[in-house]
Every structure is written in C-alpha cells, then in structure tokens.
Symmetry: D2
Subunit: 426 residues, 4 copies
Amino acid sequence: MFTAQRLHDLNQPLQAEHQLQFQYLADLLSRRNQDAQEVVRELVKFQVAIPSWALGTGGTRFGRYPLGGEPRNLEEKLGDVGLLHQLNGSSNSISLHIPWDIPQDIAGLEQLQQEYGLVIDSVNSNTFQDQKDQAFSYKFGSLSHTEPAVRQQAIQHNIDCINYGRQLGARTLTVWLADGSNFPGQQHLRRAYLRTQESLAAIYEAMPSDWQMLIEYKPYEPHFYSMVIPDWGTSYSLCQSLGKNANVLVDLGHHLPNTNIEQIVGRLQQFGRLGGFHFNGSMYGDDDLTTGSIKPFQLFLIFNELVDAARDTSVTNPLVAYMIDASHNTKDPLEDLLQSVENILGAYAKALLVDREALHEAQETNDVARAEELLRDAFLLDVRPLVAEAYRQSGGALKPVQAYRAAGVREQLIQQRGKRSVSTGL
Amino acid sequence: MFTAQRLHDLNQPLQAEHQLQFQYLADLLSRRNQDAQEVVRELVKFQVAIPSWALGTGGTRFGRYPLGGEPRNLEEKLGDVGLLHQLNGSSNSISLHIPWDIPQDIAGLEQLQQEYGLVIDSVNSNTFQDQKDQAFSYKFGSLSHTEPAVRQQAIQHNIDCINYGRQLGARTLTVWLADGSNFPGQQHLRRAYLRTQESLAAIYEAMPSDWQMLIEYKPYEPHFYSMVIPDWGTSYSLCQSLGKNANVLVDLGHHLPNTNIEQIVGRLQQFGRLGGFHFNGSMYGDDDLTTGSIKPFQLFLIFNELVDAARDTSVTNPLVAYMIDASHNTKDPLEDLLQSVENILGAYAKALLVDREALHEAQETNDVARAEELLRDAFLLDVRPLVAEAYRQSGGALKPVQAYRAAGVREQLIQQRGKRSVSTGL
Amino acid sequence: MFTAQRLHDLNQPLQAEHQLQFQYLADLLSRRNQDAQEVVRELVKFQVAIPSWALGTGGTRFGRYPLGGEPRNLEEKLGDVGLLHQLNGSSNSISLHIPWDIPQDIAGLEQLQQEYGLVIDSVNSNTFQDQKDQAFSYKFGSLSHTEPAVRQQAIQHNIDCINYGRQLGARTLTVWLADGSNFPGQQHLRRAYLRTQESLAAIYEAMPSDWQMLIEYKPYEPHFYSMVIPDWGTSYSLCQSLGKNANVLVDLGHHLPNTNIEQIVGRLQQFGRLGGFHFNGSMYGDDDLTTGSIKPFQLFLIFNELVDAARDTSVTNPLVAYMIDASHNTKDPLEDLLQSVENILGAYAKALLVDREALHEAQETNDVARAEELLRDAFLLDVRPLVAEAYRQSGGALKPVQAYRAAGVREQLIQQRGKRSVSTGL
Amino acid sequence: MFTAQRLHDLNQPLQAEHQLQFQYLADLLSRRNQDAQEVVRELVKFQVAIPSWALGTGGTRFGRYPLGGEPRNLEEKLGDVGLLHQLNGSSNSISLHIPWDIPQDIAGLEQLQQEYGLVIDSVNSNTFQDQKDQAFSYKFGSLSHTEPAVRQQAIQHNIDCINYGRQLGARTLTVWLADGSNFPGQQHLRRAYLRTQESLAAIYEAMPSDWQMLIEYKPYEPHFYSMVIPDWGTSYSLCQSLGKNANVLVDLGHHLPNTNIEQIVGRLQQFGRLGGFHFNGSMYGDDDLTTGSIKPFQLFLIFNELVDAARDTSVTNPLVAYMIDASHNTKDPLEDLLQSVENILGAYAKALLVDREALHEAQETNDVARAEELLRDAFLLDVRPLVAEAYRQSGGALKPVQAYRAAGVREQLIQQRGKRSVSTGL
C-alpha cells in the first residue's frame, strides 16, 4: 500500500529532527561504551507476529464498536499485516486462528506472502467455541471432555490446524485450552488433567518433528472456578510429559493479580521451556490492551530476562516465538498494533542497553541500590531515536502511526471494504 | 405451569422426611430459645427479584452455549419468573432491562403479572451497547461522554426507562454506567465525573418523587484502565449530590480482589444509602455465577449486616432492593436461579439465627473467640429444613430444583419455544 | 493438666444434648446410607500437628499484645500441646522450629512425649533471621546467597535441624526459604534458583533415607519484589530435581489473590508430590488467622480433594503431613488452636460425607447443577455432633474451648509462668 | 555535613557531561515550545518530607538487618534529614512520630532546624502499639475501642501530638488508625465506625484552626478481617463529618490489588479533600519500598493528576502535603530516601512536560491513541538532566547517591553512632 517513495516523502519532514536526536543518543551511548548502531541492528532483526484476529475490532461481552474497513478474509488480513510491516519493518509474520482463517487458495496466499514479505508464524486452534455443523459441543470441554468422542473431535481439529499450517509454511501449533469449570464439583480436577494430557499426547504424536507445540495457561475466563491449565506449573508439567517440542507460552494477561511475570519467564528459560509470548497490556486480567500501555516497566523487565538469557551460554532455551495477542475496542486496531510493536521494540532496546557486566558485579556483591540503579538507568533512557532509526533502516516510517494517519489508510480501507465489514473472529 | 395439585404431588414423597428434619431443628432451636416458625415467617416474606436477562443463556466474549427453550419476549420472561415463583414463593418480582424488555402490550402484561403474582421491581437502563438506529454511539461513553448530544441521548434513554417502568408499576431505576477508559490519558478523570454528575442530575430531576435511583459501581470491565464509577465511594458521592432518592447498589461481583464487601454494606446502611443488591457469585471478578456458590460464608456475613441493621432502630436506611444479577453459561438458567434464591434464603435464615444479644456482649467485652463462635454457630447450622418449610408454606416445592426437573420443564419449554430460541439481552 | 475425671465432669452437663444431636445425625446419615460411626472413626484417627511457635502471641511488624502464661521453653511447649491433645485428641504431634526449640534434655523430652502421648512431627529450619553469634548474615539470602560460605552456613543449619529431629524421632524437615529480593535487578533470578537447587541437594544428600523434605513456596513477604520459591511450580521443579523424598508443602496463606488452592492440592497429589500442609486462615495474604475462619468452604474443598485422592488407588501420593501454622495477635493462642483443629475436623467430616459415587456420575454426565449440589449437600450438613463424638471417644472434651475456659487454664498458666513470659519465636 | 566546597568538588567531574545533557534537553524542549528552566524552577520549589521513622532500618515481622549508624534521637534524625537536604535540596521537612520522637530540648531543636534549613511537616500519632507505662492497651483498638477510657487515652495521645507539634512549628496531624478486627464477628462494624467518628471529632475540636488533620486509610494489616478505615470512601466520609480542615491522606501502598490510585487522587482533588501523600513503592501491599521502584508509570500518572488539578482554577483543593513513608530492609535507608526523592522529582518533571492543551483536545475528540501518546511522550522523555539541574541550582549534588557514597557518609555515621545503634520506631 505504501510505496518506498511514499514512505520517503512521509519521513522527509521528520528526518532532520530524527537525525539530531539519533546522533545525540549515539554520542551519549558511545561515551558509555555502548554502540547505538548495534542496538539498531538488533531491533531491525526483531520481529513480532501479528494475530489475524486482532486486525478487527474486538470487545467485551458487553458490546463492540466496529469502526469499518476490517479485513473480510485471510487475503485481506495478510494485506493489513503487510501494511504494518511496511510501516515498521518489524511485523513480518502472522498468527492464524482456525477455523477463522482456513486457507482456501494456497498458491494465492503464498504469492501474497512473498509480495508482502510475510511468513506464517503459528497456527492457533480453537476449541472454545462451537462451530456450525460441528458434531459435538464444547460446552463442557474439549481436550478434557468426559466423552471420548468430543475429545477426539478436538484432537482432530488440532491436527487439522497442523495440516493447514503445513500448507502455509508454519511450524508452530499454539494451544490455548479454554476448558474448565464454573462451580466446585462440576469437574473432577485430576481426571480432567489426565484426559487433557492424553489428548495433547495424541496431537503431539501427530505433529511433525520440526514443529513445536506451545501450551498457554490462564487462571480464569471463560471459566470462573477452575481452568484445566491455570498456571505455568501446569503447562510446564504437561510439556515435560509430552517431549522436547512442547513448550510454554506466556500471555502477559493470563496471571493472577500481582504475579511477577518476569520471574516466570526466567524460570522457563532456565528449564529450556519458554516457547513464546502473547504480548498485550493488562491492568486487571486478560484485558488485551496495547502492549506496554499499562505496565511499561514490567515489559522492560521481561525483556531484561530475555536478553540476559540470550547472552548466557548455559541457557539452552529454544527460539522464542514473539506474538501479539490483543483486542481493541476503542482504538483503530492497526494503530493499536503499531503502538504495541513500538512499545515492544522500546523495551527491547532498553534491555539491550543494560550494563550487564556492572549489574552482575552489583548482584554478586549484593549492592542493592546500585544493581537497581543499573537497571533503571537503561529503563530511563529515551530510546525512541533508536527505534525510529530501526524503522528507517528497514525502509519503514520514522513515525508509523503518524504515517498511517497521514496516508488516510483507515479511510481507504473503509472505502474498499465497507463501513460494516467485520473481521472474522471473536 | 404448576398447579397446586402438581406441586402437592411432587412434595408428597418428600413430606415425611421434611417433617422429621423440620421438627428436629425446631426443637433444637427451641432449646436455644429460638423460634423456627418465626424464621420461616421471615423467609416467606423475603422476596428477591429475578433479572429478565438471566432467563436465557449468558456467556463470555469467548462463546455461548444456549440450551433452548429461552423466553422470546417479555411475556415469556414473565412466564419463566412466574414459574420460579410457583416453585419457591420467593421470586415475586422481575427486573427489566431496556431496550431488551420494552413493553408493547401493557394491559396484557398487567394481566400476566396478576396471574403470576408478580411485580416489576426495577428498570435497568442500558447505555453500554449501541442499538440499531441509535443516533449517536456510546463507543466513547454515554452519561460521561464529551459531546452534549450523546449525553442527552443517554439521559433521554434513562427517562424513557422510567416511563416504561411507570406503565408497569416499577418504582426503581437502576443505573449501571459502563463508561470508562482503556488507556491512561484517554479520559479526563475529573471532567468525566462532573459530566456524569450533571447527567445523573438531569435524570434524577425527571424521576417521580416516589422513585429511587440505584447507582451501581464496578472497578473494571468493559473498560480496563478506569471506570467512571469504580467504587462505592464514587457512587456514594454521586448519591449525596443528587438527593435522598439516590442510593448505592452493591453488586457482589463488582469489587477488587479481597474486598470486605460486608463492611461496605454496613457502611452504606449506616449512611442510609444502601439501595439494593445485585446478588451473584464471584471468584475473580464479575463472574456472574450462582449466588453463594463460591463464597457462602461471605453471603452469610452480608446478611448478618442486613439483619443487624434491620434490628437497629438508629439505622434509617431505606428499603433495600434485593435482586439477582447473574449469567449462566453451563447451567440451565432456571435451575441456576432456583439455586441462587435458595442460597440467599439459607444465608438469611442463618443470619436471623445469630444470637445478637450474646454477640453484642462478646463484642463489647472484646471476647474475640466467643464473638467469632457466636457468628459461626449460626453459620454452621443446617437450616435447609427452614427454607424448605418456607417454600411449603408459600405453596411451593420442598425441593424446587428437583421439582423443576421432575416436571420436565425445560423439555416443555424447548418444545414450546424451540431449541434455538435465544433470549434477548447480552 | 486435665484428668479423665475432670474432663468427664466437664462433659457431663453437655452429654444429654450431645447424645440427642449425635443420634439424630446418625439416623439421618443412616437414611442416606452413610455411617456416622465410620466418620467418627476417621476423625479419631486424624491428627494435625501444632507448631511450637504458635503457642505464644504472634503479631505483625506493627506490634504485639502478649497475654501472659506463654511457654518459656520446649518442655512447656510440649505441655501446652499435651493439654490441647487432652482436650481434642487430635493434636498428638508438634512441629519444632530451630533454633527456637533446640532440645537440651533429650531423655526428659522423650519422657514428656510419652506422658502426653505426643510425637515430634517436623523440624523447621530458620534461615530468615540472624541469630546471635552467627558467622554470616542472611540479610541477602541464605540457601540462595551469592557467597558460598553463607550458603554453607545455611546448609549446615538445615543439617543440624535434621540431627536435632533425629534425636526426638522426627522424620520430616520443612524448609521455608525466605530468600528473595525487594527490587528489580537486586537478584539474578536464574542464578538464585540454581544456587538454591544446589544447596537443597546438599541438604537432601545429608537427610536419612526415611526422612522427607517438605519445600514451601510463598509469593511475597519478607521480600516484596521476588521470592526464590514463589509458587508451587517452583517447589515442584525443585522436588523433581532432588528425588522422591522431597515434596511440596502447601501453606494456605501463601498464594496470590484468588488462587484456586484446592486445584493445586489436586495437581500435587496427582504428581505424587503433595508432602504436607500448613493450615491457617487468610483473607489477604499470609494473615495466619485461625484455620477456616475466613474461607470455610475453601477448607472443605481442599479436604474434598484429599479424601477423593485417598480413595483413588491410582493416586500414589505419600502420606500427607497435616500441620497448623498460625499466629495469634488478639486471641488466646490455645483457644485459636482448638478452634483451628475443630474447623479442620469439621471440613474433613464433611468431605467424608460427600456421596462420591453420585458425584462421579454427575461429573461424567456433565450434570453441573447436580454435581455442585452433591458437594454442597455435604458442606451444608451440621457435622458438629460428629466432631464432638470424636472428641468424646478420644477421651477429650465435647466442647474443648468451653472446657479450656471453664478450667481456667490461661489463668493457671499465667500464675505458673508469669504475665510477661514470652514464647520464643517470631 | 557537606560544605558547599565539598559538594562543588564532588560535582566538578560530572559537570561537563551534565551541562551537555541539560543543554541538549533544553534545546529539544525548546523546539517543542517547552521551557526547561521553568521545569527546573518547579522542581527546585518541590519539597517532600522525610519520615523520621524511615531513617533507620525497617523490616518485616520475620526479621531485621540493621546496618549501623542509625540516628539515636531526634537531634540525630534532624541531622540525617539535613544531610539529605544538602544533597538534593528537596527534603526540607521531616515528619515526626510520637512517641518515638517526643522533643526534649525545643530550643536546641529549633536551632538545628534553622541550621539545616528544615521545617517540621507533620506529626504522626501512634495508637497501634502499647507504650510502656500506658494505662490501657490498644490490643482491641484505640479511637474505635469499645471502652470510653481507652478511646479517651487515644484521643489524648493525639492531642499531645498536636501540642508537641505546635512547639516545633508543625501544622499537620496525621492519623493512621490501625484499629480493626481479625475475625468476622469480632467487631461491630457500624459501632466501630461511629466510635471512631466521635473520637476524631474530639481531636478535631482540640486542633488549632490553622492545622489540618490528615486521615489515612488502609485495607488490611495489622488486622486481617476488617480495618475501621479501609478505603478512601471511609476516610472521605469521616472528613466530611469533621470539617474543612480534615482531609484524606493517600499512602500508595494502602490499596487492594489493581486499584487505580491516580483516579482516587483525581476524585479527592475534585472534592477538595486531598490532604497529602505517603509515597512508597508497592508490588503486593504495604511493601514500603523505594517510591517509584516498582510502578514508575503509576507514579507519573499520579503526578499527572496533581499537575492537571494544580492548573485547573476550578479545583479548590488545599495544599497537598508530600511525604515519604517507607521502610528499608536491605538498602541503606539514606540511599533509599535519596532514590525515592529522585524518582518523585522525575515523575513530577515528566508530568510538567505533558502537552496539556493537545491532550485536552485529544480527550475532547476521543482520539484515544493520540491522547495516550501525548501522555506517554512525556513519560518516555529522559528528564534526569532536569532533576540534576534542580539539585545543582539548590546547591546540592548532581548525583546525590553517588556523592553520599563518595563521601563515605555511612561509614562516618557508624563511627559516630556505633554499629549497633538502632533508630527508634518500628
């Protein structure tokens, strides 16, 4: 949608100020023996997947307020992600949700992927909703259901997801199991776990050996007494029983109040079981807000763990899948996603600028105030010039949201797709 | 739906055992100088309103699993509540939700009310969803919206609610204001409050002097950074500014983790500002589960405050409106409501059996263990025979859920209304 | 302190009423095909350990209000527990805390144990406080400390605990590791875990093969950013790495808000890793209140899991150690402990009365309302006559707190030990 | 302790880099039409009171780890605060705690105040601990106690506090009422409130008309079932009943999980009832960590409310008292306080740099993403050069913690006061 010339034109008036700010920061970092360009190179490489289901307006059970121009099919979803990737150079992949994104025209999709420079990142199964013409209902569970036939249907759905994903080059299956119970007594807690374990093993068995399965956890919602996989400990135990290609997925909104998420991230890396992230922002629960909008310091601390582990050769964690999982009720979804990616890149940049050697020394000598200051020092830096420079070097916009608005993208999408187009999904 | 004969027949096989249990408990209480029949009389008088929107299957943003036979219009909703009232004699009123329950045939409805022995309890306005053909959207708020025209529309909707209610004999307007913001900065917190205050004043002004306005509070959802009325303090301050006919409504699910709700109930009664309840069960947030299903002791402690205040002549609180507000995803809605009412009656019965004189003395002398034991003593009593006796004396079923099932009510409703009938509402 | 005659005399005036209530309940249960005497037999067998540190007044950082008569040494602590055991027949063991309870006169202690019918249940190490003349401070950690010498000191302390315990016949070492950090950056999260793992392995190595190590977890306090062992997942992973004699200890107050603890209990039993409990009551955090005083339904649901697993031959969990861990600021500690044991026995009795066959069927057929009702049915029973009968059959008091008061125990203890005696401990 | 020359020498090697950074930021702000010097002027004026009780090592109920050199009397406490004020020019006042800080030598203290440029900010009463030789115990409450004599003692203590404060020029009484209950039933919730109200009225009556009373709230600890003043609504209602010189004090750690504190701040300002702050950092509850160490964005959002209200002429809130209330277990208390003040100044500087006109416009037009970006834009700025410049202009150190360490202050204090000196207080 954006030609290189168009982006160049949009960047032109901002270029001088950007150059000034970037140069100042590069000099400042250089005086600290840090290399701005090296950080920029890392940012340019960093990619975070966009969820197909976040391209349309989300909402709560109380209502939705669509704004129009939403993608009506998988092809248009690729188009939207391609557009984001043009703007920020950091969104080269897309997470699919089956059955919302069942591919029809594989060849056409492959061509679109090439055109936009996109890959398919992960396939997400959905056994938390009943689909039309489905033989059995998931009202009382899917992979954990008491009836073998329902479990088999849910297993098969996951295998179908793998097959769709293989056609498009994906190599990750993400399982968020919404099974649980609303009342004490409703579900036999141990048996529900065992049935789930058995079902996951059947899916794992059917998974190609170069795939990985990511297992999410969530303490509540859609069930409000118990969830079969409520915490990282349960996900971890399931992964242990499945094999080395099963790993834990951390969704930032899936924790009880006050959880220290960065510590969970550290633990999982140490166990070699951190499979991936669903980034979003949370104040109360699974709020699915813009990543970094509510707890920017937490986001930085998470990236601090990631960078620290990445530099520690004793850590043998697999490649981590970075994905956004958000829902937008009041913002333009595409603006929200651009903001999320920007906040993620900022947190990553800051984590890269932590003086780890000095921090290590302060930690080893229990110099509490100094250790804290060393972390804060990186957090307090204004790294926006580094992020903007990464955009620029990727051929994107210095200020993606501003460019998106200036180019009137939403208006064009509404014209093309209509005011009432509603993206498939929740 | 149930004739007196039918209920008598259903009770018949349970009668002997009931009589045995009731007599035992009456004797036991009598030895404690407590009068079982007096408690039963209180229970018979106690009525809790059924929300029209809880007669159909609810759900979360992730999916719903309707079970069929749901009421398709206001007349059928009255029918369902009438049926519940036949079974338990404690559900003689219904809360309406506008626009889901706009009455069409007033005379017909009045006749139905008489037939079922029902009254309309409260009218609930809805400015958290956009209705078709609505001039302005509530995407960015209603009574707190920045635009006067949107506020005016929302004010007018509330006035319409009052007018609908007047036609049906209601005298309470319940305002749950879902306005809020998802991101820091989105909303000017003070101005949003002031606009809300002004809007509520306009509605209050239009309200007949024998009506009361109930103002709910809720800390989050549908908005996840701030809600305009997040806590009892805000509701209370608004009521103070409006006048004596505005009071606070406490929804058991609308609190932050670990809140001592019974203390809030006590405070509001003391201030003469407790207007009513939305009863439901909650483990995490606004889970809308069966009342008493998760925290039965808390429910008892709330009733303990209510009974205590009712017997304290220095407390000048207005009549409290008892209403259920729940949502049912996995249970039959009518069974859920019968259970909720039963749990409420049980908590009330236990609260009536607290030895308040002894408790008072233990409190005044700081005999902690004894004060606690006195409360627990009432809580630990098995008061089910009292509740069953109240059902019986009201002409209902000794075991309402059992009778409901034995009579095959749901199957009949499905036959009448269809497998796919979906109740209006969320 | 109580002779059999004295207890008999105290029971005498209550006996007739007790007999009446017990007989009624036994008849009622019999009509349900349940055997009251069988439940009583289980209750008589059930023993819960009393923590030596809960025999004196506890408190918060803000102050303490000792009431006098507190045990001044280990011998007097045994005396207090012996007295509790006389009263309720359910407290035949004591948990020690080293260094607060270092035994001096082993032979004398053994004799006291025999006299009171007590065993030593578990030895608890303490590396969260600095003891006078200790070579290294635990200010910055113990088993996780950055300095090998500090870790070695903490390891040795745990080994000392084992040795003290062996002298007294204990076979359990309980490790609550208070290590953690107050600020982001203070502690390297992965390295702290690895050092802890290594230290625990050294202790485990030194532990006799017929001992078990219980590893507690706690999300916060005394550290407020991170704890090295914050959750069951971390405890579990450590146990896995240590061996089959290391198991997880669940303290009811050591969870984040809204945690479903009974599910954790179920998981751990399923993994064969539930080692024991620290029972107490909690509204906000580690409040250390009387067990069952705040969330009696939760306590029942926990026992429901325990009973369910005990009857499931596929579960191969080791024997679970039942211990109280509480702190008393406003109640007489001994009254508090009597109440705690009573609440525990009540929850256990109710769990024994769940109709598991019917529940199983309801669960398998997803009859949600019925499954819930089956659990609630047991919870709502007034089982106090069963608990009292168990007391009676054990030779204790029908109403232990009442007997304790009637006998003027506290007054005598104050006379013997003084108004200002302060128990060792926190 | 620091001469101007000493501070100059310590600043000297940092001066060039500071100048470079400050000039760059001033230029950048100038291009945004913002005036760095104006912000610096505001920062120079800003003063936050240091609590006398935070000058020594704090701790939890589990243990303390004093580091030595703690002030042994009020004079030495003034000395410590004087030293902080020399270093940062922002700590010109001290909060006293009675009875820990009962002044003996008024004239001497006045001279010290003059010497150090300090004022006494607020006097804090303490009725949560029993003092030696106190007639009645506060075990079961103070201002809310059931016994009039105990209440009278607590009232008198507060009046004594006022009198001590008058001698030293204070004009604020801070009341943190720790009264509450640990068990349901222990306290009659309504009567406890009424007794408290009456007691506070007696104190208010005795307070000079140019004083203000600040009423804190706290949801739990030291009591774990109910606190008499648990939330802002209760504080507010008490202030309303007392008069215009009673206002609410917000302690950042005194809230339930997930509370939106900045909204409470906004509400109270709007009601003209925000009296002051106790700043500290919190992850779980009343953790009393370094201000801004855990949730820096929240601290900024609070200052955003403060600055916004300060510029709004329709807001008629009294002067807000800014105080720190923290406890230090692992850090040097003085370093912790320097960090806290620095974080507060940083948050204030950022709040001053919000483009309020643009924000207002974005809010009024519901441009959500832009409104959010405008706030974040200020938050992401690295304002440390502004804070350092404020220190410099106040005659302090460019980097106070660094200067404190370079000067070997703690070592000197230990030499003067001893390794085992323990500050009065908790």
